[in-house]
């Protein structure tokens, strides 16, 4: 292997996301976390009694649970400085025209209303702690599909269904930030797709955190009944501040018998964000969960969507890309539990580290003794763009059944100099050649993304690669 010249890349251009408006909150709690703050949030949100009791119990679990003993450092996160609830100065609206100008402008700059008009069946938009806009197309509503904010749903005829599912997949005892979420959650979406209904165009929720030093704790609960189909897109961003912000959201997805759910996420939080998010799906017999995940932002991320394949023949696919730059430590991956016969999982990830960033892949494939004839394959590839960055691959396979077929492969490396040389011999500049190669590396992931996100990701990669080659 010949020694190569170093590649220097410029930091990412986040100007599209890094704009802010003055905080114009209708109400916010003090920073820190106390039973009084949790009770205030509960009161503000008009919680039913069971939810208020749930929050206080979760707070107790939080106080008794230690920080993770693994993963990136969380030293810069001090809960005493985090404001857990900021209510924007508006009620939830069903028309963009009714949303206050500063908030509306935020989402317009992010392209959300345009996307809704062009290619979405419904949109939810959360600003700080509350959903400010929610709308779903009439024809989708007429199919019996419910897409609304979780608080409204808690007071609707879906209240009992929510009680039966809320934080059952991710109990507060799961880890410290699940407990925190249980105590102070606010906002998020509730989606219900009746049996046999196929939602042909996606629903999208977008989360924007505007207030400095605040936390966002939205809860997304999705129930897709037998034989139904849903594609749900989640996007998130925030302006950059010089104080730590926290995102500890939670996503719970119940995939019914022979149903299919695709959950796509493009995470572009600013680089002061601690993104400690928990996502989990429970998949019934013959059901399928597909995760598509792009992680580009945040200062620190812990993000490993888990799929519990509980029914025979249930399937999981995970496709993810992580791009870590200066000051970022992104610890991402996936988890799957095969708990029934003939279940299958397929995990494909790509990660890129440059400019001193840390991009880790972490996974767990667990096959229980009940999972006869389970199949699992994991493939992860990492690309190092310089020797100031770091990329660790930390997979675990835990197999308790002999009739299985489990495969795993991982690769780490750099840009092939032979490929650069070949492309330059065909007339490309070195910078374009390297950008093309990195784009090709990410291509299998990009093709799984919704088109507008794939285009955006390719633009981001091209921007990354426009640095000095020397």
């Amino acid at each position: 292997m010949a020694e190569v010249k170093k590649t220097q890349v410029e930091p990412i251009d986040r100007s599209m996301y890094d704009f802010r408006y003055e905080v114009n909150a209708a109400f916010q709690v003090d920073s820190g976390l106390t039973p009084e703050i949790v009770e205030t949030i509960s009161e503000e949100k008009h919680d039913p009694d069971w939810m208020r009791a749930f929050r206080l119990k979760a707070l107790d679990v939080y106080n008794r649970t230690a920080l993770p003993s693994w993963g990136p450092p969380l030293d810069g996160l001090n809960m005493a400085n985090i404001v857990t609830y900021v209510r924007p100065n508006t009620e939830m609206q069903a028309k963009w025209a009714d949303v206050p100008d500063d908030i509306k402008n935020t989402f317009e700059r992010l392209g959300i209303p345009q996307a809704e008009r062009a290619s979405l069946a419904g949109v939810g938009a959360q600003y700080d702690s509350e959903v400010v806009y929610h709308n779903v197309r009439k024809e989708v509503q007429e199919q019996g599909v419910v897409y609304t904010d979780l608080e409204s749903a808690l007071h609707s005829d879906h209240a009992e269904r929510i009680r039966e599912h809320f934080m059952h997949l991710v109990p507060p005892s799961d880890h410290k930030f699940a407990a925190l979420h249980g105590a102070v959650w606010s906002g998020g979406s509730y989606v219900y797709v009746p049996a046999g209904v196929s939602v042909e165009i996606p629903l999208q929720s977008y989360f924007r955190l505007n207030a400095p030093g605040a936390g966002q704790f939205e809860h997304t609960l999705i129930i897709v009944e037998e034989g139904a189909y849903l594609h749900f897109i989640e996007g998130c961003s925030a302006p950059k501040y010089n104080v730590a912000n926290l995102h500890a959201g939670c996503v719970e997805i119940y995939v019914g018998k022979n149903a299919r759910v695709r959950y796509s996420t493009i995470e572009n939080w600013s680089k002061n964000m601690y993104n400690l998010n928990t996502k989990r799906a429970l998949v019934a017999e013959g059901g399928t969960i597909e995760w598509v995940s792009g992680s580009f932002g945040s200062h620190t991320s812990y993000l490993y969507p888990m799929s519990v394949l509980r029914g025979a023949g249930a399937r999981m696919e995970f496709t993810g890309i992580t791009f870590a730059g200066a000051g970022q430590e992104l610890d991402t991956g996936a988890q799957v539990i095969h708990a029934a016969p003939r279940t299958s999982s397929h995990i494909v990830t790509k990660s890129i580290a440059r400019d001193g960033g840390v991009s880790n892949f972490r996974s767990a494939v667990v096959v229980t003794k009940d999972a006869k004839d389970a199949k699992s394959s994991v493939s992860c590839e990492s690309l190092m763009l310089d020797d100031r960055s770091r990329s660790d691959t930390i997979p675990v396979m835990d197999i308790a059944c002999d009739q299985v077929d489990v495969g795993h492969e991982a690769k780490i490396g750099r840009i092939s100099e032979e490929a650069v040389f070949y492309l330059m011999s065909r007339g490309l500049s070195e910078a374009d050649a390297r950008a093309l190669i990195v784009g090709g590396f990410a291509e299998p992931i990009a093709k799984e993304l919704p088109l507008e996100y794939a285009v955006e990701m390719n633009n981001l990669i091209h921007l990354e690669m426009q640095g000095t080659i020397g």
């Binding site: 767990a364 003794k369 930390i394 835990d398 002999d402 492969e409 490396g413």
Partner: protein
């Protein structure tokens, strides 16, 4: 020995509930029995020309850390009832052969050996553990410039025996250390090899084989740390788990800054012969250097039914086919044993184990 807090620790921890961050409490080194470890029946054969032996181990070797971890290494070093330092110069025509035979008179072998392979030397060091009892071994290898060391470890202890096996390696410029580790017996097996590739062109190759049956607990932690240019590691393991055996394999290739043009490959192929076994595999690649090539792969499952069918169509009965396919997986390690009789003994032991699980 004292209970270990971090025995066979994973270099970068992960979720605690998976139980792979360190060896389980049931695999901890045992406390020193009343009256100490007693006499041991550990001996070495007459040394070949070019080899020398003395009872004192120099500090330069003592400081090398094995995959078991510093605490376990220290416990074995300080409690050893057999300690020897071997030095090798030039090309040795025959192996250095060390035999640990555990029996009623000496059921406990706590063995600390170190090997200094001088510049340009070529040496094979064979360690054979047999019998019934407790074997705790630490082997430290310092391979000087362009030296070639082959360490062969064959463990054929009884199922009720217990085994701890730490190997610590340092490769100087151009040095190559091969380890062939065959762990076929014992109810508790804890092994960890760690190589420090801190000089240009150093190479560490591990070919490991295990066979866990009954209620055996097997725990492995192999680490290759690349800090110098043009260093190479090849870590390859094959194993069989039967009955209610449990196994954890941690394999880590750690490319640190400066390991320019480092290359590391690791693989594991596990055959599962019972629905009650538990296999955990954790292959890590850690990387802070751009110009490296790292790769790992793992295959876990039962024998390929298509292959069994094919072999049956060629006239092999199912047991013969099974034996053939196990042998194919184990052959890369067994074929490296330097002695035909030793190869035959290992194959015979594997045959007995397969007969038991037929």
């Amino acid at each position: 020995m004292t209970t270990m807090e971090q025995l066979n620790a994973l270099p970068v921890p992960t979720w605690n509930h998976l139980g792979v961050n360190a060896a389980p409490a049931s695999a901890a080194l045992p406390p020193v029995p009343d009256g100490g470890w007693g006499e041991t029946n550990t001996k070495y054969d007459p040394l070949p020309a070019g080899a020398a032996c003395r009872p004192t181990i120099p500090r330069a070797c003592v400081n090398l850390v094995s995959g078991l971890g510093e605490q376990a290494d220290r416990a074995i070093r300080t409690q050893a009832n057999f300690a020897r330092f071997f030095a090798a110069e030039g090309k040795l025509e025959a192996p250095i052969l060390l035999r640990e035979t555990l029996d009623a008179r000496g059921p406990n072998a706590v063995t600390h050996t170190a090997l200094h392979a001088k510049a340009g030397s070529d040496v094979t060091f064979v360690q054979l553990a047999q019998g019934a009892g407790t074997s705790a071994a630490l082997t430290q290898i310092a391979a000087e410039r362009d030296a070639h060391v082959k360490l062969v470890q064959v463990q054929l202890l009884t199922p009720a025996s217990r085994r701890w096996n730490g190997v610590a390696i340092r490769c100087a410029t151009g040095a190559r250390v091969e380890v062939v580790r065959i762990e076929l017996g014992a109810g508790i097996v804890v092994a960890g090899a760690r190589a420090a590739l801190a000089s240009r062109g150093g190479e560490f190759d591990l070919d490991a084989v295990y066979y866990g049956g009954g209620d055996a607990v097997l725990d492995f932690n192999d680490v290759s740390v690349h800090t110098a240019r043009d260093t190479t590691s090849e870590l390859h393991t094959a194993g069989v788990l039967a009955d209610r055996a449990q196994k954890v394999l941690r394999g880590t290739i750690d490319f640190r800054r400066g390991a320019v043009r480092g290359v590391g490959h690791e693989s594991e192929d596990v055959l599962l012969f019972s629905p009650a076994v538990r296999n955990r595999t954790t292959p890590l690649i850690l990387c802070t250097e751009e110009q490296v090539e790292g790769q790992h792969a793992a295959t876990i499952g039962r024998l390929d039914e298509g292959m069994l069918y094919y072999l049956a169509s060629r006239g092999l009965d199912p047991e013969e086919a099974k034996r053939l396919m196990v042998d194919a997986r184990f052959a890369p390690a067994i074929d490296k044993l330097p002695d035909d009789a030793l190869q035959a003994a290992v194959r015979a032991e594997i045959g007995r184990r397969l007969d038991h699980h037929a």
